[in-house]
């Protein structure tokens, strides 16, 4: 098995007095096809870890590798290219474009790869079918329910077949029924081959993953 994501002694210190050490030397390897849950109470540094792993922030020291590419060696432009081509992120707050319909929201996942609009939309329709929203393609995002919105966000992260799909508290804004449905969806996607890293403080969510990594005070506890 090849490593989709590899963190080696990753540290993140925020300047200030005193400086805050949010992540204190994390080693983590996620193989292709795995579904891993990163669990920890709030303030444990798991969200910082997600930002570092997903290439949204740079570590103070240590190495982050996505599909074999070392992020610390990439320029800002290269890093943006890597985000566009190798990574997908699902946020707790969904971050949909409210004025656009579900299909265009999902198609935005390929916007910065320079894929022509017609092909983006075709791929978006396929991805929406995959998350069970084939009947909601042309609905405006702001008219969708919370569960539907998160499905749209997952389809958007999925559309580019990323090396790793990160999900930050994907059920945090949903009721338990919708939350369970999203977890089931993530499991199904993983079964179909997607590599998924879920960040959560909810042990119920973590239980859905094959492997759990607990973060405590910026370190891997188990």
């Amino acid at each position: 098995m090849t490593a989709a994501l590899e963190l080696v002694d990753v540290r993140k210190t925020y300047p200030g007095s005193p400086p805050v050490e949010s992540v204190r030397g994390v080693d983590l390897t996620v193989h292709s096809g795995e579904m891993v849950a990163v669990v920890g109470p709030s303030g444990s540094g798991k969200s910082t870890l997600l930002n570092l792993a997903a290439g949204l922030d740079r570590p103070t020291s240590g190495s982050v590798r996505i599909a074999g590419e070392a992020l610390e060696k990439l320029s800002e432009r290269r890093l943006a290219g890597l985000r566009a081509h190798r990574l997908g992120v699902v946020f707790q707050q969904f971050f949909l474009l409210d004025h656009a319909d579900a299909r265009d929201n999902v198609a935005a996942g390929l916007l910065y790869r320079g894929v022509p609009a017609r092909r983006r939309r075709a791929a978006a329709e396929q991805a929406l079918e995959q998350v069970g929203l084939g009947h909601r393609m042309r609905h405006r995002a702001r008219l969708l329910s919370g569960g539907e919105r998160q499905r749209v966000a997952i389809a958007r992260a999925l559309i580019g077949r990323p090396a790793v799909l990160f999900a930050d508290e994907p059920t945090g804004n949903l009721d338990s029924a919708n939350g369970d449905a999203i977890l089931q969806l993530l499991r199904d996607l993983n079964r179909d081959g997607a590599t998924i890293v879920v960040i959560t403080h909810d042990t119920h969510v973590a239980a859905a993953a094959q492997r759990q990594v607990t973060i405590l005070d910026g370190r891997v506890a188990s």
Partner: protein, 398 residues
Amino acid sequence: MSSPLSRLRLADLLPVATIGLRTRPGRAALSVLGVAIGIAAMVAVLGVTRSSQAEVLARLDRLGTNLLTVASAEPHGGDETQLPDNAGTSVARTEGVVAASATAQLNDLAVYRTDLVPAAHRGGLDVRATDTALLSTLDAAMLHGVFLDESTANYPVVVLGYKAATVLGIAGLTGDDRIWLGGRWFVVVGILDQVELAPEIDRAALVGFGVAASDLGWDGHPSRVYVRTDTTRTTEVAGMLPRAANPQAPSRVTVSRPSDVLSARLAVADATTSLFLGLGAVALLVGGIGIANVMVISVLERRGEVGLRRALGAARRHVAAQFVVESVLLGAVGGGTGVLLGAAVTVALAQNRGWQPIIPPEAAGLGLAAALLVGTVAGLYPALRAARMAPTEALRTA
């Protein structure tokens, strides 16, 4: 294996950049208002100026710039003083002169509707003796009747200037219209149309030299000579006329060019134009600051969108381009609206004044270019702010 750079297709940039305009059309409309007003002011000022200048030029063209008047340099309290009695003929003989007509203001005479009007009620009208060529020299037209000719010049007949006829209450000719002039009746044979380049003729009752000498005590000295010159030599001829009119004392002769008054209006218009263009530029500047303000607020409101786009792989320059293009579009909308508004004002004003409306194409082009420039500059700072936001920061604070 390194992944390719992210890229945003040009065809996708426009839809992405118009999100702000499409989702908040009211705000977009308000933010372009300043630029629209500035551009409208500039286009209207240039259009109105150009239209009125074209009107003046057309009048100059119609009236001709080759008319000169020769008079004494030292008028006595507004009354014209005499030129030497052969001034008319020597002026007419000067090289470059096409036509010349001598006239004499008969200073002590007044003209009345009837012999019953008190002598003090002069009505501001003059009596002038003139030769019979005056009509053609001035290129004037008759409103009614005929001008003086060789046969009528010796008889008590009079031709009234346009204003004089109005003041005397003679609207048309019935055949037996008479006026009281110099203590005797004169028959009105004609009424002149307005003579724009010689307003003193409008206010005059014109009699022939013959009757002036025999009945009105004229001593034969002209006081004002009208001269038409060869069009290309007007200035040169003007320099020669004082010596021709009065060889003994050329400095006591003044030569003027009535069309200069109209030409001066062109220069005055230029000065006021600069003032109003300046005001328009200030409005444009303020409009640009308005767009910049709205864009800064818009960027702050859309932090979440910026963060999301970065997470989806947008490079800083893609985010910057999105907001700059949005600002340029705001400028373009403002500029387009302004040009249309300015053109409408020009047409309305020109029609109101009876001018031919002219909207200079370069004013419309420059207006649009200025609006685009203002939009670009106004968008730079907000766009750079958006591009500089760290993705995590943008997502966390959204």
